[in-house]
Symmetry: C2
Subunit: 426 residues, 2 copies
């Protein structure tokens, strides 16, 4: 969008998200099967309904003696009950031999309760007088120290729901109900297109005027960290046809296309032209949705949709790539992974956050949401956040910082000693 | 260690860590090479010293015109300076043609400054009157809008240090200085031994008395999440020789051995006996160091060292496996990965933490550090933490919870409405 003077209209981060969300429709997601040994971090495509009841049999939750509770009524240290030890339940064996009146059977934690027993006397509350006589020093009530069938999971229970990202304990639970492979959503593929006549491969020796590709490696790492699959398509010259062909290839092979690299106005104009042309020709309401967001660094970001797929024109400065990714691409990759916010609770940050005090003053440009990189240091038991300054084109500012402080649009800066929340890099 | 009555002496979590740290020596770590496209999350084994200076040439940080600052002195909107546009610097090309007195050369952000130019007038502060005449509306000072050679990185600078876990932006920085492969520490291997006569494979149909393996899948996921390589050796019967042979195999193939599965006292005694025998026979001060820690769940944990390698006997209950892992194994895997705490700052939690209010009362056993699983829910703009109760043997308690609240040893419980910090599962 242009204003009356022909300049691009810059909007806020929230407005940009709103424009994108209004235009974007989540496509039908691809599904594949994964063995549970290979499913950590994958997102379930189906609800998991248990076909079994757990435990399948009454189990002891203690090491001790299976008894009928009524045989221990009134037992105390001063007036014990005396039972006949009639056998032992071996771990992993069916306890087929019933416990008769006045009898007790030894068993371990997790052991199956024999027929006729309804409770377990802990080892500590009994002593064996001879091979066959058990002195019970404390009464138990029916069900005491026993896990009943179905106490854990019942057949037909939904253990996990579609959209859940699998954690280690979920893999254990799936194994427990005998599910060894699950349907998961395919990880979304992000095509990365690097443009810029000045950009050469990281392995090349740049001539004067040239620089090595930084952004596509940073971006590929960010995509991978968010659960996506980066697909680096290569470095392309700042030519309309080359960029258009690369975007077409990206759309064929990926779920999201990101163009990064060149930092000049010329590159941005080409990118925006390509997205608009392809968006129009693909029908529907495709094209550029956002051209410029009031964020620093990252202002010149372009966001569009072509053939229903998101296409990003990222700023050329390395730090701006990271900020743009975190603001717009990260959550989109999560959505295209099929993930449903595990808590369904807004306001829980997706990254670790620590509180620190500003180590110096920092003044922020008005009218922009400022994403300030900081390094952390501990002094006098206080955590201090020190701005990592330098133009956002510098790669050194990428590596010295431990996290980011977001200064809202309306705030003009931070004072030394002011408390801030630092979002840590992972 | 046993007390006078022959019972195992239970110690605190900190005491257990202290005993282990006093006995354990970090071995020499294995090193391998990784391409930077495959190095996300890997730990650097060497310092990265830049062999290049960046930028290698003076670059413009704006789209505009390269000039000699003195030619713009005093220029204002009402009294502009007039320069001759003598050419254009193309992106990626060496700017060989000098800028003479009274001349200006067009260039884009990132473009190389030509000889004779020392500053850049932004597009917005100049206008082209005809093909050859530039009206400069604002003076620039020498160096304005220019990134000087070495402003970013100088040859010989240490960009990253050994022990640093590589983040996306680090991969970009490495590419920027032409480093496309790095030496990283090999991820530590954790052998997982499942014991218990009652345990069957997740894919098997358990008979009465048997249960499916839950713990080795949960533990493998935890190991993977911490950056280790899980090596599941299989399910072994509760027999001394079988467990000993499995531990020997584990020691041959892994950096850490973890025994999990059986929940009975018998299994624990076998495990502890095996660790003591192998520890003694391996020479040095090997054997069981810790047998029981005052934590709930997870009290019956065994920690030992054999042949310099940590060996864990984990409790049989699934939730206790997770708690034991987080308390003792996670940080050990990080150390064996070669990772140096990126901030060097104690007290920054390794996981996400949110504040919530207790949704109900919870009473905790005295004399134990209690790790309470909670689920989170939002009501009336308040985040509530609700205890997920049930014996720790239940797998359902694994999946319903969103995180853990740690109740210190000395605290007897939590009141409804009390503020707590919830460590979220990732």
């Amino acid at each position: 969008m242009k204003d009356m003077r022909g300049r691009d209209v810059v909007i806020t981060v929230d407005e940009a998200r709103g424009k994108f969300d209004a235009a974007f429709r989540l496509p039908e997601l691809r599904v594949e099967r994964a063995d549970i040994t290979d499913a950590l971090g994958r997102v379930l495509a189906d609800d998991i309904v248990s076909s079994v009841t757990l435990p399948a049999f009454a189990r002891s939750s203690m090491d001790g003696y299976a008894v009928s509770a009524r045989d221990t009524y009134g037992a105390t240290e001063s007036m014990p009950a005396y039972l006949t030890l009639s056998g032992e339940v071996l771990m992993g064996e069916e306890a087929a031999e019933p416990v008769g009146k006045g009898q007790a059977v030894r068993l371990s934690t997790g052991g199956m309760l024999p027929p006729g027993a309804d409770s377990v006397v802990m080892y500590e509350h009994a002593q064996l007088l001879d091979d066959g006589t058990l002195e019970v020093l404390r009464a138990v009530s029916p069900g005491e120290n026993v896990v009943q069938p179905g106490d854990d999971v019942r057949e037909g229970d939904t253990l996990l729901t579609a959209g859940h990202r699998l954690r280690p304990q979920d893999l254990g639970a799936l194994a427990g109900i005998g599910v060894t492979a699950v349907a998961v959503y395919s990880n979304p593929v992000v095509a990365i297109i690097n443009t810029g006549n000045e950009i050469v491969e990281a392995s090349a020796a740049p001539k004067l005027g040239q620089v090595r590709d930084v952004n596509s490696y940073n971006l590929a790492g960010l995509v991978e960290q968010a659960g996506g699959v980066p697909l680096r398509l290569g470095i392309f010259p700042d030519e309309y046809g080359a960029i258009r062909d690369a975007v077409v290839r990206g759309l064929e092979s990926a779920d999201i296309v990101a163009i990064t690299g060149g930092s000049s106005v010329g590159t941005r104009d080409l990118t925006s032209g390509v997205i608009d042309e392809l968006g129009r020709s693909s029908g529907g309401e495709g094209g550029v949705l956002v051209h410029g967001v009031s964020v620093k660094p990252g202002k010149p970001i372009i966001i569009g949709i072509v053939s229903g797929k998101p296409v990003f024109g990222l700023p050329g400065h390395p730090v701006a790539v990271s900020v743009s990714f975190m603001l717009f691409m990260r959550s989109l990759i999560k959505r295209l992974s099929g993930e449903v916010d595990p808590l369904g609770i807004a306001g829980i940050p997706p990254v670790r956050v620590v509180r620190a005090l500003m180590a110096r003053n920092y003044s922020s440009a008005p009218g922009r949401e400022d994403h300030l990189r900081v390094s952390l240091e501990l002094a006098d038991d206080t955590l201090w956040a020190r701005p990592v300054l330098g133009k956002s084109g510098l790669i050194s500012t990428l590596v010295w910082a431990h996290g980011t402080v977001v200064i809202p649009l309306a705030k003009l800066g931070l004072s030394k000693g002011e408390a801030v929340e630092v979002e840590l890099f992972d």
